[in-house]
């Protein structure tokens, strides 16, 4: 009777069942990996444990630590200065500090390894002009510490973005009260703004950590053995699929632990504070402090965007005569088309899940929504491995057709990995609108589909555009999934950049890197414009 009652009271049953089935499809590769783990021989794990696991674990966590530390430094300090103070170039810096998001970590790593190398511009200049000093600089820069800083330069915008919004939204009243209670500007920041912004900063840091765990190109190039490179090596170089599965599952455990720490921390430290209703007035600085503020904001921009861009541009000019423009055009077309189609699908699917979560209000749909978001935390290599094992099994049933090596499987992997990226802006936009919009819609006679079509699509259109752009940029930069699952003879700008770089032909890879950066930068500037219209940040 109780169950019958519960089913009677459940609204939108068909939608809920549809979302459960769809969620199972998205989680299938992970279930496959866990299932396959049972069949891996015990000796294989013993070998893993005794020989490589410790090394991989140490490197992975050490790299996470360095990248996290520098990302926080490069992200929080400029966000604080730009949000609170007025200084020359503030508006310009506020825009360009986002731009490193347009440069994938692996391009940053290739570029800096070239800049810092023996034949690179710094060491060449020092050798010609200051020979004694140049000896000191003649080092092997392909070290994990250098990699950590380089990755932080590429990833800090995740922290800058959330901190910038959060610092600006903390109500001016809190700041006025703390000033009235005698706190200095720094203490106000340290004791009021920073604690209130901690959940937002932690969610930005979570994205940085997931990117580090997922990173393949940069880590491989620097010769650092992490879980992700270990999966590739075991699988492709040694043909040891058992070790690859075990490493994937260990990596999944690490990722899920971080994921749940983030969720737990977020639920424990979520503050419900009043946001700014008026634009916060900006503090004034004296001449020395103005200079300091500009310098501190310039450092991440210069090293995270400007210098790599100049170096890449220089390489493009040097190799201009050998650029195959037909090939460049084709790869740009490939990249834009696969990223557009995938982004569009991701947005549709994200909207489908979020809308059902909103109208059904069941715990099942909340759980589904949380579970499918974990895809972003799962490294591309793990998703790739899971899908290959799954579809190798399915392909056995279809002798005339093979899924492996098709666009279907590539897009399937993109959807699993990037669904959370597309979901995030739509979710926060849906949450901003009052429940009474839905109730009014229903009261005025709208069914679920019309409610979506006539109310939610138009009032969330900016969030949908934002979601499309951030997903597109991430897909355009994506490397490990594309490397593993792309159809035969299908290249993108990212895979071509990587292939030239691993062949030690970085100058030739520059035009492809430049293309990624240009498309990414234009989209980011457009996105910043949209965000500025939507969020009243001071």
């Amino acid at each position: 009777m109780e169950i019958k009652n519960k089913i009677f009271y459940l609204e939108n049953k068909r939608w809920i069942i549809g979302s459960i089935l769809f969620a199972i499809l998205l989680l299938l590769p992970i279930f496959t990996l866990l299932y396959k783990l049972i069949y891996v021989e015990g000796n294989s794990f013993k070998y893993l444990l005794e020989n490589i696991l410790l090394d991989y674990s140490f490197n992975t966590f050490y790299l996470i630590l360095i990248t996290a530390f520098f990302s926080l430094l490069f992200g929080i300090i400029p966000a604080w200065l730009v949000s609170i103070y007025k200084f020359p170039g503030r508006n310009f810096l506020d825009i360009v500090l986002y731009l490193p998001l347009a440069i994938p970590s692996y391009i940053m790593a290739f570029t800096y390894s070239d800049i810092l190398s023996y034949t690179g511009p710094i060491q060449s200049f020092l050798r010609e002009n200051f020979y004694n000093i140049s000896i000191f600089f003649n080092q092997d820069y392909l070290q994990i510490e250098v990699l950590g800083i380089i990755m932080a330069l590429a990833l800090y915008p995740y922290i800058y973005t959330v901190s910038r919004v959060s610092f600006s939204l903390v109500g001016a009243n809190y700041i006025n009260v703390s000033k009235n209670l005698g706190l200095s500007s720094f203490k106000t920041f340290y004791k009021i703004i920073l604690p209130l912004s901690r959940p937002a900063i932690f969610s930005g840091l979570f994205l940085v950590l997931m990117e580090v765990l997922n990173e393949y190109g940069a880590v491989k190039y620097f010769g650092v053995n992490t879980y992700t490179t270990g999966i590739f090596r075991a699988w492709f170089s040694m043909g040891d699929i058992g070790t690859a599965i075990q490493l994937s599952v260990i990596l999944l455990l690490v990722v899920f632990s971080i994921f749940y720490i983030e969720k737990y921390y977020h639920s424990k430290t979520k503050f419900y504070y009043k946001t700014n209703s008026t634009i916060q007035s900006l503090g004034k600085l004296n001449r020395i402090n103005k200079f300091l503020a500009i310098s501190l904001c310039l450092i991440p921009f210069l090293f995270g965007f400007f210098i790599p861009l100049i170096f890449i541009l220089n390489n493009v000019f040097l190799t201009f005569s050998s650029i195959d423009f037909k090939d460049l055009l084709q790869l740009t077309y490939n990249t834009i088309s696969i990223s557009s189609i995938s982004s569009f699908l991701i947005i549709l699917i994200a909207l489908f899940f979020l809308f059902i979560e909103k109208i059904s209000k069941t715990r099942v749909n909340y759980f589904i929504s949380q579970s499918i978001s974990m895809g972003y935390a799962i490294p591309g290599a793990v998703i790739g491995l899971g899908l290959i094992i799954l579809f190798a099994f399915i392909d056995n049933f279809f002798s005339s057709f093979t899924f492996l090596g098709s666009f279907f499987i590539l897009i399937y992997a993109y959807v699993i990995r990037f669904l959370a990226v597309g979901k995030s802006p739509i979710k926060s936009s849906l949450e901003k609108h009052p429940e009474s919009y839905d109730d009014t819609g229903k009261n005025l006679g709208l069914g679920p589909l019309k409610l979506l079509q006539k109310i939610h699509l138009p009032i969330n259109k900016f969030a949908l555009i934002t979601a499309f752009i951030v997903t597109f940029i991430d897909l355009m930069k994506e490397l490990p999934i594309t490397l593993i699952l792309r159809p035969f003879n299908f290249d993108t700008l990212a895979t071509q950049t990587y292939e030239f770089a691993v062949e030690e032909m970085i100058p030739l890879s520059s035009i492809y890197s430049l293309m990624i950066i240009l498309i990414g930068s234009v989209l980011l500037l457009f996105l910043k414009n949209i965000i500025n219209k939507q969020v009243n940040v001071s």
């Binding site: 009474s436 919009y437 109730d439 009014t440 009261n443 005025l444 709208l446 006539k454 138009p458 009032i459």
Partner: protein
């Protein structure tokens, strides 16, 4: 009866019911005020009536059609019940006119001009919600609900977001519109003045239970319990022969000599008269005076024993 609510029970957690066996009925064209404290389940009740929430047991029927019982549930889209929400949810991507005619059946379109003039929105049709004041938004929501000729109109705290000047004029306007369209209405509010001004009958609701359902005069003069009495106005407590009685402030007279002597704590001007708060036998008393009095002054007061109201022993719990 037009609207019948029988044994309505609503809960989100079974051991914490929000509405416990509610029974009442409404006649066609009547305005009912549903009065209760914030968080007492008033909005949940309206959502049950409109179909936005399903009831756990009982029956709701409108115009002899069952809307919801243990086997039947008519979707909110099919009920033809107008609902004006507390936060005036006009869709932000539509202008005022498009909001009013949103998903409107063709047959109602001819009423647009009448409804716009009735609500005084003629010059605002092309404005978007953010360009409208709170009062204008509210009138637009009412026009949107009424143009559909609803069988029942539900108003959820329609005046709570308005400042006091506009509130009074809005209250009169809404009353005029509802009576002119002869729309059966349930007004949910926590403000007794709204109820007294608009309602034909008042339903007082506390702790999930109907306390009294009556017309305003009866409710004031013959409250069912001390909670209802207190809701409709100030009460002064007095012990006579070991029993506790209550008396309304306006029934207390200031006299030259009396055995009841009040020590004045506070005296303030209230427009027509001065309101006095003082102590009598350890209780706080409220009453009125034509002249101002000083703090600590001793006043002789008296009352007629016929004006004393007696309640049972549960009364003290209500005031806690």
């Amino acid at each position: 009866m037009y609207l019948e609510v029988k044994n309505l029970v609503k809960y989100y957690r079974k051991n914490v019911p929000i509405i416990k066996k509610l029974n009442f009925s409404v006649k066609k064209g009547e305005i009912i005020s549903f009065l209760g404290e914030s968080g007492s389940g008033k909005t949940t009740f309206l959502k049950c009536i409109s179909g936005l929430e399903k009831i756990n047991s009982g029956t709701i029927s409108l115009n002899n059609i069952i809307l919801n019982n243990s086997n039947i549930f008519i979707k909110p889209q099919k009920r033809n019940i107008g609902f004006v929400f507390q936060d005036y949810p006009l869709f932000p991507h539509l202008n005022l006119k498009d909001n009013i005619i949103f998903n409107l059946k063709f047959k109602y379109l001819k009423k647009l001009d009448y409804m716009i003039s009735l609500t005084g929105l003629e010059n605002l049709l092309t404005r978007y919600p953010h360009e409208l004041s709170g009062g204008e938004q509210q009138r637009a929501c009412i026009a949107r609900a009424l143009i559909r000729e609803p069988d029942l109109l539900l108003l959820d705290e329609p005046f709570s977001n308005l400042d006091s000047n506009i509130k009074l004029s809005m209250r009169d306007e809404i009353y005029k519109i509802i009576k002119e369209t002869n729309t059966t209405t349930i007004l949910v509010t926590h403000d007794i003045n709204d109820s007294l001004n608009i309602a034909d009958r008042i339903l007082i609701f506390k702790a999930g239970v109907l306390q009294q359902y009556d017309d305003p005069v009866n409710m004031y003069c013959e409250p069912a319990n001390c909670y209802c009495a207190k809701v409709l106005g100030d009460l002064n407590q007095v012990d006579v022969n070991g029993k506790t009685y209550y008396i309304r402030p306006e029934k207390i007279k200031i006299v030259k000599e009396s055995i009841h002597k009040v020590i004045v704590d506070k005296c303030f001007f209230q427009g027509k008269e001065y309101k006095i708060i003082g102590k009598l036998y350890g209780y706080n008393w409220h009453f009125f005076s034509k002249k101002p009095v000083k703090k600590k002054e001793l006043l002789n007061v008296d009352y007629s024993s016929e004006d004393l109201i007696f309640f049972d022993s549960m009364c003290n719990n209500f005031f806690e």
